[in-house]
Structure formats: C-alpha cells, structure tokens
Amino acid sequence: MTTSAQWLRRVGPLIESLLAGLIGLVIGAFIMLAFGYDPLAAYLSLFSGSFGSVYSWAETLANATPLILTALTFAIAMRGGLFNIGAEGQLYMGALAAVAVSLIHLPSPFNIIVSLVAAMVAGMIWSLPVALLKLGRGVHEVISTIMFNWISHFFAFYLIANVLTDPKRGEKTISIVESARLGRILPTASLNYGLVIALITVAFILFFLWRTSAGFELRASGYNSEASHYAGISLRKQVMRTFLIGGAIAGLAGAVQVMGRPPTYAVMSGMPQLVNLGFDGIGVAMIGRNHPVGIVVAAIFFGGLMVGGRIMQFDPGVPFELVRVIEGVIIVTLAVPELRRIFSVARRKLSGGG
C-alpha cells in the first residue's frame, strides 16, 4: 500500500463523517429555504451560538458531556459486534441511584465518588439481564434493550413521583446533596466537572480497547467470532463484558447529568434533562465512527448543534427542531456503505490496482 493509500485508509472514516455532516447541513438548508428562512443567517447564528464565545463553548461542552458517555456505551458494543441501544434506560437508573445514594450525606469528595459508583452499579444492574438473556435464551439485544428502556422509563417515573420525591416540590426528586454535587468550571455556565469525568472515561476506554488483552478480545470477537473462538477467546465473556461496561458508563452519564446540572441538581418528573440522551448518543457514536476520540469530536458537534440551535431559534427564528432533522439525515447518510465503496475504489487505485 502506498503511503497515500494508507493515509486514505486512516482518514477515510473521518472524511465520510465530514461528508455526511455536509450533506446533513445542505439538506437542512434546503428545508429552511422551503419555509422562507435564510440558511446562511441561520447557520451563522447556530455556529456562533455554539462556538462563538467562551460562554457558548462552555454550554456546548456541558451538553456534550453526557453524550460522550452514552455514545461510548453504544460504541463499545458495536466494537464487540453487539447492538446495545439500552443506554437510555441504563442512564435513568444511574441518575436515580446517584440521587438516592447521595442522601447518605458523606462528606465531599467521598459522597461524589460513592454516588458515581452507585450510578455505575445501577447501570450495570440494568444491562446485566440483557446479557444473560442473550447468552441463556438467545434473545436479540435490540428487542431486550428496547423493552428495558421502557421499563426503566416507567419505573423511573414511579420512583420520581413516589419514592425519591422532594417533600417540598412534588414534581421533582430530592436534590442531590451538596456534598455530592460536581462543581462548576465556569461560574456562569452549566459546564461542570462532569466533563472531566467523561474525558477520563474516554481515556480509560481508549486504553482498554487498544492496550489491554481484554480490549483485544472484545475487538477480535466483534470482527470475527469464528476466528476468535479458534484463538481461544471466550465469546460468552465478551458479551458479559460489553454489556456490563456499557451499562456502567451509561449509568455514569445519568449521574453526571444530575450531579452536575445547576440549578436544581435533581431529576424532574418527565426527566427533561435525561430523556433522549441515550438515543442521541447513538448518533454521536455513529458520526464518531465508534472511536473514543471521534466520539468526543462528534459529541461537541452535537452539543454545539443543540446550544446553537436554541440561539438560532431566538434569532433568526428557525425552530430548534431542525437540528434533529440534520442529525437524522447525517445518520441515514452514514448508513450507506456507498460512501465507503467510493473510498475503497479510490484506495485501490492509489495502491496501484490492488
């Protein structure tokens, strides 16, 4: 392989994501035109709103934080050859576990650590049955994770309304105890140390996947289960590991949202600050090509879209929902391997008719 073909192989996925992103923005522009908005003004507003000032960057990063984590959950599973879309349900449980455990009133920083651990355990408890059902009964994880998402959804509602309710304000849970709150990085924005936790997790997963034997096994079994079996890798262990690690990280996502989000530091009924984080995480993971570093970049992009989208709604008045439309188009575009085929053809030509 010539060096230019090699370069293309590494950078190819990045280019695909950029291309998909571009297509999404173009289609978004067309939709805006159809309704009489000015796409240039809108995008200007969008991007300056998300990346134009220190404050906007802070908000963007704050939004990106939980997305990084839920995206990792999905990405790890994909690398292991599994489709874990249960982050949504796992993160609700993580958030509520953090609330509950923080009530022990340990002094900070122990309370923070204990709450985070509790959230991870809750996430794992929620993903464990999915793994067991797959291993024991051959239940496909797409169906079981969807079911568990909905069960978690209603169970969370129940807990918010009946078990962890704030006695003074019935529509929210008891707030996370002060000693368990994650401090703000910037006094005026919602950016908090949850970001640090997310980045530490990214570093850990990066190390795990490429620098440990456990990560090696996971990737191998994701690529080729027959060869992995031949090489002595236990496929059952991989399924367990994938779901447990994914569940823990998703639980962490929920915890970080609750422990770091001013001003209430609680879960509201309806869970507005938790809902859809799991599904958006899937989008982030896909655009980030299931790679931890790509995920960080994609999460910032998504987070920025959300922040900027609100500004864009303010002025020039393009509804925020357009952002979701763009996200959807990007993902559908990424589903098409045509993009990859264009690149493999180019790669072959560069490497001299391979």
């Binding site: 490429w210 440990t212 060869a227 079996h229 031949y230 090489a231």
Partner: protein, 526 residues
C-alpha cells in the same frame, strides 16, 4: 424396483448402452491458458445417453463439478459446443437448462428450512402470485415418491429432516420438473450406506425409464454398484470413457488417482514411543449418523508425522474440530500428551500445546480486519511478555512480529497499519505458520497447510515440518494432496466416510493402495 439390478458387491448390470444421446458436449473448455496452472476443463468430449447411469470419476479439482454445472446452466463455458438431442444450445441460467430438461442436484443443500418439502418445491414454481398450488404440488410429489420409491414425506418440514433426508428432498425438488438428464454431485456424501443403496435403486429406476443420469463420485463401490458407463477426469483432462464391464477397480483407481511415485523425504526413524495424541472411538459432532459405531481411532507419537489422506467431505473438518476443542465430540475419547482433553475448550487445547493450522485461513485463521502484529499474537497475547496483568506490551509484540515476519518471509508493508485482509493467501499462511510453530509446540494439527502456496513456500513448509518433527513435535497432517502426504508422512492413514481405513508405513506406501482406500474399495493385501 427389483433389488437384483444392483449388487453392492460390485457386479455391474450387463445392459448395454444404446439409447439416444440426450446431451452432448464437444471440445468443452473452461478457463484461460496461462492464468491458472491448467485449464479447468481442457477440451472435453462427453455425452449422456438415454437409459444409462454415467459416472464421472475424479479427484478433487478434476473438474467433475464444473462440467456438471456448465451442462446444466449454472456456469458459463469458455469454448466448445453443447447439444441437446442433437440441437445446438446455449444456456444462460439454470432455468434455461431446466427448460431443456437438464437438471442438477448440488452437493450443497439449498433449502428453505422453515418450509415443508412441498413448499420448497413451490419456491421455484412458475405460477401466478396469488395462486396457491400446494395441494397440487403435494399430490404430484406423492406420485413421484411412490413411483421412484424415494422415502420423503412431502408434508414434512425440512428443518426436522436429517441431512440424508434433506438430500433426498433436493433430488425430489429437481424430479418435480421432470428432467430428462439429471446430474447428481456426490449425492451420497450425507447418506449412510443403507440410504445410499436406496438411492441407487431410485437412480436405476429413473434410468430404466429412459432418463440419462450423471453421477459424480469418488467412491469406487458406488461406481460399480450403479453405473453403466464411467468417465474419468484428471486435472480437467479426459482420461477415458468406457463401459463398466470393461474395466476393473484397480484400473479405475489408477486412472483417477495417478501413478507417479513422489519422493519420500529421507529422515531418521521415529525415536519416541510417547504418544502425542491418542484418539479412541471418536465420533465428532455432525458425524453421528454417518460414522461407524467404532468412530475414529488412531495414535500419533511424539516426533512423528501422521498423514491422513482422503477426499474432502469424509469427516476431516469434523475430526479436526474435535481434537482442537472447537466442537465437542458426540462420543469417544481424546488424550493429548497423556491428559484427557475430550470436550475441553479451544483455549485449553492451546494452552496444552496444540497448534492448529486451519484449512480456512481467511475465515478462521486470522481476524482479517486486524493488523499484522495483532494477528501474529492472536493466540499468544495472553502470555508474558506480550501482556502483563492484562496490559499489552506493544514493544514486545512489535519485536516478536518483526521476528516472525522475517523468519517466515511474509511480505507485509508494515505491522500496525495494514489490515491482514489485503494480504495474499500465501502471505497469510506464512504468518499463520509462524504464529503456530514458533514455540515449537508438541502437537501440530495441520490442515491443507500448503494449499495455494507456490513451490518455494511448499518446500519451506515441508522442511519446517521435518525440522519440528526432529525436535519432538507430533504432526497430524491432513491433506488432499497425495504427493504431500507421501513425501512427508512417517505413517499414512486414509479417511473415508467417518473412519480411518487402514494405516501404512510412509516408506512402503503404494499409491494404488491409498487410492483404493480413498475410493472405498476393500483393500487387497498389498
């Protein structure tokens, strides 16, 4: 259907073949000279007459399946003429073939498991979308079953049937279209001997009706049980066609498997008496119905090469899966280096010191999407120095990979940037050989290790095996290449229908004798 028409002990029917020529090929060729070692089919003349069972005999790669596929419309030809009842034809698809009354039953089953036999027949039916001719199909199938004595229940679900029954379903599927010429590719590969005899009765009946049956096989017993004429192919070239009464088993075996005597590679005699492998009455998973109750039994000494010859499909893959831990055997015992390893996991076998060079390099031997260095340590990554406390040591892995690549002459652009997917088959095999043998493992299971390699690489591999043998490794060599087996092995066994039939000393091995065993004819005293 009188059974007297067939005598499995080898008396051929005496009916002369004088029927009309139903299908004829003249100068049939496939392949391009210079591209491959030889043309896949080299200007063959072949014909099928009404009322005959015509057997196509040959080793693997001889071209028997290819010619059948071309004449029934599945493949295209490069040159030559095909005539159906004297009329020149050209087939674009199997449907064309069927339209001219020519059908083929493949070795691979192509059935919809969830459907019944009748519903499977309906899949290929030309009928309007909203019709539902199930009952008509079932009735016709009932007639066919009764007429030919094929034991198949048209209303049974295919999934619930045994492999042998499913093969019969394939035949029934094809009979439904009332072909005049029928090609059957190794139809008894999944059948027990009893089921095979039943099939021969059916084939004979079809021929007696005026059909032309072409039967592809490598098993001599079958050839003599059912054929009127036999054609031998070798490496795409015609070796001759004759009436079965004009030839003998010996002659056919010689024609099919060749006469040349390869060089036996001189070496010191086997010194050790310690056993590397002892297999007793092993019936691997998947062979429960086919294998004789005694199953596989053999021993391999340390410092010995035992070659197992045999045409593919006689239980090789299943045996290998059992003695490497990939699948649990149905019954029997496997003892490796003194320890009972029956039903243990692949990891246990690897840790015991069993190396496995697999037949399917790309699908099983490596993880194609991973890098060269990663594939080199695919089985060793757990051990120090490649990892300690679960953390991988890239430095050590790189050094080791460099070493292996150099020693085994693998041509790779780099170690951490190249996905193994893009490497050639030969280079992949070199990496696998390096990976499996660098620790000088006490037991090596090598399955078709030099297939697709060039002469130099083959020689290198053979030298490597002899060297490892010298150092005490016990090598089980499974190959279809009789030259390889005869050159390398201290002892040679032949696999046939789920058992090992006969074992001889390598030096004394007689190609004709081996051919007999591979073809399933009772071994005459050598």
């Amino acid at each position: 259907m009188a059974n007297s028409a067939i005598d499995p002990k080898g008396q051929a029917p005496k009916t002369p073949v004088h029927g009309q020529i139903l299908l004829e090929a003249r100068g049939l060729s496939k392949g391009f000279p210079g591209v491959w070692k030889h043309l896949i089919l080299d200007h063959l003349d072949f014909d099928v007459r009404a009322g005959e069972v015509h057997t196509l005999l040959g080793e693997n790669g001889a071209g028997k399946t290819v010619i059948a596929n071309i004449l029934s419309g599945y493949y295209g030809k490069t040159d030559g003429e095909i005539r159906v009842k004297g009329k020149l034809v050209s087939f674009d698809s199997p449907r064309d073939g069927l339209a001219h009354g020519i059908a083929m039953v493949h070795q691979d089953l192509m059935l919809v498991g969830a459907f019944t036999v009748a519903q499977n027949v309906m899949v290929g039916l030309k009928a309007p979308p909203f019709s539902f001719r199930l009952h008509q199909v079932e009735r016709k199938l009932d007639e066919l079953v009764a007429h030919y004595g094929l034991q198949v229940d048209p209303r049974a679900r295919v999934e619930d049937l045994s492999a042998g029954e499913q093969q019969r379903v394939e035949i029934l599927k094809v009979l439904f279209h009332e072909p005049e010429v029928l090609f059957l590719d190794e139809p008894t590969s999944l059948l027990t001997p009893h089921e095979a005899d039943q099939l021969f009765v059916v084939l004979r009946a079809m021929a007696d009706e005026g059909k032309g049956i072409v039967f592809i096989s490598h098993k001599m017993r079958e050839v003599f049980a059912v054929s009127d004429r036999v054609t031998v192919l070798k490496l795409g070239k015609m070796q001759g066609t004759c009436h079965i009464s004009e030839t003998t088993e010996d002659e056919l075996t010689r024609r099919t498997f060749g006469e040349t005597v390869p060089d036996y590679m001189e070496r010191p005699a086997v010194r050790s008496d310690k056993l590397a492998i002892k297999v007793s009455n092993l019936i691997p998973q998947g062979l429960e119905k086919k294998a004789p109750k005694s199953g596989f039994s053999f021993t391999l000494r340390q410092g010995e090469i035992l070659g197992l010859a045999g045409v593919a499909g006689n239980g090789q893959s299943e045996l290998i899966a059992s003695i490497t831990g990939l699948a649990s055997p149905a019954s029997g015992q496997i003892i490796i280096l003194g320890e009972d390893m029956t039903k243990r996991s692949p990891r246990a076998f690897i840790e015991k010191g069993v190396a496995h060079i697999p037949e399917r390099r790309r699908e099983m031997g490596i993880v194609e999407q991973m890098f060269v260095a990663e594939n080199v340590v695919l089985k060793d990554y757990r051990q120090t120095p490649f990892s300690r406390n679960t953390v991988l040591n890239h430095h050590e892995i790189t050094a080791h990979a460099q070493d292996i690549v150099a020693r085994f002459n693998a041509l790779v652009p780099d170690l951490w940037d190249t996905e193994c997917r893009i490497l050639s088959g030969g280079n992949i095999q070199r990496l696998i050989l390096g990976r499996e043998t660098w620790r000088k493992p006490p037991v090596i299971i090598a399955s078709h290790p030099t297939e697709g390699l060039d002469a130099k690489a083959i020689r290198h591999t053979w030298d490597l095996f002899l060297e490892l043998r010298e150092q005490g490794s016990g090598i089980l060599l499974i190959s279809e290449d009789l030259d390889e087996i005869m050159s390398l092995s201290d002892r040679i066994g032949v696999m046939f229908e789920g058992a090992i039939v006969g074992v001889v000393e390598g030096q004394d091995a007689d190609r004709e004798l081996l051919g007999h065993w591979m073809a399933g004819t009772a071994a005459q005293a050598a």
